[in-house]
Structure formats: C-alpha cells, structure tokens
Amino acid sequence: MTEMGSTKSVRSHRDCFAQLAIYCAALLVCAAFAWILSDIARGGMAHLSLDFIIDSPREAGRAGGIGPILISSALVLAIALIAALPLGWTTAAVLAEYVSADSAFGGAIRYSLQVLAAVPSIVFGLFGNAFFSIYLGMGFSILSGGLTLACMLLPILVSTAESGLRAIPDAYRLSAAALGMSRTSTLFRLLLPIAAPSLAAGLLLGIGRAIAETAALLFTSGYVDRTPGSLLDSGRTLAVHIFDLSMNVPGGDAAAYASALVLITALLLINMIAMRLAAGWRRRKIMSQNSNGYSDTDAPRV
C-alpha cells in the first residue's frame, strides 16, 4: 500500500516537473522575443522620425537618415524577385506537374534545392562575389547583390509553390483532361490560380528572408550609402547598414536601433500578411476537399 502510494507520488511529481519544464521552455521563447523587441523599440523609438526615413545618412550614419538605404534595399529586393520568381515557379510547376514524384530527375532537383536551402548565407555571399561581381564583371552592385539573393530565395519559392500545386486534388486534373484541356492551359488557367494563395505565401516568406539578409550582400552589393544611380552602382541595404553601424561606427548605436526598428516592423508586417494568406489557403483547401468528399456541410441547398 505504501509502496503503491510512493510510486504514485513519484509519478505525479515527475509529471509536474515535465509540465513545468515544458511551460518554462515556451515562456523562455516568448521572453527572448519580447526582450529583443522591447530592447529595439526602446533604443530606436527616440531616434525614429519621418526625417530619419527620408534623409540621407551623415557622419557615416551617426546622423541623418536611411532614405538611400531604403531605396537600395527595395532595388536589391526587386532584382532578387524578378530573377527568382519566374525561375522558382517554373521549377515548381515542372516538379509538381510534369515530373513524377519519384523520378530521378525530380529527385535530383529536389536534392539540389535542399542543399541550396542549407547553405549558410555567407557562402552565398562568397559565391556571389566570385561569380557575379568578379567573373561576370558586375562589381559591387545592386545587380550582383540581387542575383545572389535570388539564388537564396529559390528553395523557398520552389518548395512553397510545389506543395501548393501538389495539394490540388488530382480530380481537377482528370476533369480538365476529360474536358479536352491541354496540360499547359490546365496549369495556367486552373492549377496556378487555385494555388495562388500558396504562391503568395511563398513570395512573402521569400521577401522576409531577402530583406533580412546581410552576409550574402556584404561582398556583393557592398557598403556605399549614397542613392544608387544605376543597378550597377553599389548600394547599402538596411540589414547591412545596421551591421555597419553597430560594428564599425562608434556612436552609431542610436541610428542602428532606429534602423533595426524599421526593419523589424517591415518584417512583422510581411509575416502577418504571409500568415493570413497561408491560413486562407488552408481554409480553401479544406473547402475543396469537402466538396470532393460530397458532404453538404455548409447548408444543403437542393
């Protein structure tokens, strides 16, 4: 009797401890996030103003604003997306629609993308410097930075678009074929529109990754903090600016904090939009499954 009682109490103690540990871990994660956010907000709020967002940096960024840096960031992002979107989505369409799931070709592409996704960004930076800047002669420029980023975005874009396309029930493909629709028009007029929410979600995840990138851009788009005159000019992105202010510029902390606040706000906004799109996409998926499951859950109307 006593023995049983003691095992029971040991068991319940162990249970209690496990629960406590789990809650602590979750709390720790939230605390880390809140701490970073509050630290940046506290440090950056004072320095943040409309002028800061518009003005050019002065005294190596200690004074002035981040206007040209925002422009460079937008340009680098635009180049990256223009290069990566068609390539990534086409690859996804090939993987999902034209190559059977277990073929060697598809496997090779998927394996390459997995490896690409795992490569550290500094390695992308070195590759971009060697290939785009030096070998192709683009120098330190917005163009070579954007193209380097494009390589980094490919895995995200391909995997989100591919899973979006694969989530579409085969019944649609069969119906389209039975209506005499060609594969190409089935893809463009039916499947891609259906997968649009997941394409959009992947796009936003990619944007989030791209505007937060530093290491890959240090050696490719460079440091110059003037407004770029052309795509072959060097331009400093927001993340690089923050890195430079906090590492190389004594007295640049306040500006670094304010820039970080701008960056984090942009990232949070993009993440929120991405989450919302992904949720909408899931809802749609469930809806279409219900309709194929021929249940009349949403109010029968015969």
């Binding site: 059977s100 649609y172 389209a176 074929a177 039975a178 629709m181 028009s185 007029r189 529109p193 219900n290």
Partner: protein, 295 residues
C-alpha cells in the same frame, strides 16, 4: 455494320435561335443529333478485342462490344472488374495513368481512337465525362463552364453566355443558380455540383457522354434528379454509364453489359438489351449477379 462516312461536325451548342427552345418541360436540349431511336440500333462505339494492362497486371481482357448511338448503355458488375477502366479508355483518359497499356481497337464512327494522327483533345471534347464524385473546379459557377469553352475557341462573350444559360437550363440548374452565377461552385450542394459537371460536359456539345457512377455520391433525392436528367439526355447523346445500382440500370438503360473478373482480369460476360440481361440472362454468372446471389 453501320459506318457513317463523316462524323457529325461538332459545333458549340447554340441556344439563341433554337426552334426547340420552348419544347417539352422548358428544356432546351437542342436538336436531336445523336441518331435514331433504340429500336434501330446503329453501332457508334465499336470495341474489338480490347485489353488493358496496368504495368503487368491485366485489368481488362478481350472485350468486344458495340455501343449503340443515342442509347444508354449501362456497365454493371462488381467492383474491380474493369468497368471504370473501360469507361476511361473510351476517351483515352487512361493515357494519363503511368504504365497503362492498351491493345485491341476502339472505333468511334469507324475511326480508331488510338490512331496516332488522332488529336486526343478533340476526341475528349467530343466525349463528355462525368465522374463519381462531383468535380466542379473551385471557381465560380459561370467560370466552370466558361473555362472549357474558351479552351475550345468559343471566345465571344455573348456566345459563351448563351451556351452557359442553355446548358444550365438543360440540367435544370438555371432557375436555382441564375442569380448567383459568379459565386463559388463549391457553395452548391452535391447534387447541384453533379448537375453543374454534366452541364460543363454538355457545353462542349459532345456526341458521347461517359458517366462513372454519377449518382452514387449523392443523397437519394439529388440522385433521383440526376437520374431523371440522364433519362432525358437519351436519344441526344450516346451514353455509357457505370453503375452499381442495378435498379437504376434497369430503370434508365437500353442496353447492359455485365463485367466479371475471370483469370485475374475483367471480362465482358454478357451484353444485351437491358430487359434481357435482367429478366432472362444467358449466362449463369449474370443471373446470379442481377438476382443478388453473387457479387
């Protein structure tokens, strides 16, 4: 054996100046074009010694039968006896299945559907297909029918709208949905979705309709509505329907083909008038199946 020199030309269905517009029940099925009544059977689909393999596994072996113009032919038999495979061979949907191989001949109006010169998209346009589960695209009701019409070159807005109204009337859906054509097709009930799929197939003005258990996923009332609709299509289209519902086959079909698995592959056991298959089957397996003793 009747061979028509040239198949009926396929044009988009016209609703506007159709003389039959005000015909019986207010339905506008368009002029009879599929052929004579069933008392004068003319073979439209001729199947000779047709076999189908998935990889090394035979699904159908040596099927030979004629499917008559304008009639409803029911394919009956237990699950896994190759009825659906046979059905999707007629519009070559089996081409999409990796490892699927066919041999033998299927001729429609005398021309072989496996002829390399034959354009499979045109073939499928002439053969409508309705699946077991309703498969409306997750688009609007209107767009569901517009999309295949566009694909086949009906681009003019007025033409498209006319065809869409006509086919929706033909399936008895117009009055139910005319005020929400641009809302999602997924908001329709199961029975409405299935009728929309039939309308979508009819919009391309096919000569043949293939139906793979079109009622089995529906509740009894919706099933009844779709069944009546299929009966009304008789004479205008050559209909091949797979069904597990023997009572339904008996009610709507002119001819019945009974399939059974023998020697690991589906085979055609008996083909004949529906009445004969159900009332005086020649084969003992057929008798056992239609009387509920087997299968």
């Amino acid at each position: 054996m009747h061979h028509e020199s040239k198949p009926t030309p396929i044009e988009p269905a016209k609703a506007v100046d159709d003389p039959l517009k005000e015909a019986e029940n207010g339905y506008t099925l368009g002029p009879m074009q599929a052929g004579p009544a069933c008392c004068d059977p003319q073979p439209m689909i001729q199947v000779e010694n047709f076999s189908l393999h998935y990889g090394v596994k035979a699904a159908l072996a040596n099927v030979t039968l004629d499917i008559y113009r304008g009639c409803i032919t029911a394919l009956i038999g237990p699950s896994g006896c190759g009825k659906t495979s046979f059905l999707s061979s007629i519009n070559r949907l089996t081409d999409l299945i990796p490892g699927c191989k066919v041999s033998g001949r299927i001729c429609i109006d005398g021309s072989d559907i496996h002829d390399p010169a034959r354009d499979v998209q045109t073939l499928r346009r002439q053969i409508g297909m309705v699946f077991q589960k309703p498969t409306p695209f997750p688009l609007s009701i209107y767009r569901n029918i517009e999309l295949p019409l566009h694909e086949h070159g009906v681009k003019c807005r007025a033409d498209t709208a006319a065809v869409i109204e006509q086919v929706l009337r033909d399936v008895g859906l117009w009055d139910e949905v005319h005020d929400r054509l641009h809302s999602s097709a997924l908001s329709l009930s199961g029975g409405q979705q299935q009728r929309l799929c039939i309308a979508r197939a009819l919009a391309l003005n096919p000569r043949i309709l293939l139906m793979d258990e079109p009622c089995s996923a529906l509740d009894p009332i919706a099933s009844g509505i779709v069944e009546d609709l299929i009966s009304r299509l008789r004479g205008r289209y050559t209909i091949v329907i797979v069904t597990h519902n023997l009572a339904q086959a008996r009610r709507i079909a002119n001819y019945a083909a009974f399939f059974w698995v023998r020697g690991q592959a589906g085979r055609l056991v008996e083909f004949g008038h529906c009445r004969q298959i159900f009332e005086s089957p020649a084969h003992e397996l057929t008798a056992a199946y239609v009387n509920g003793a087997r299968g």
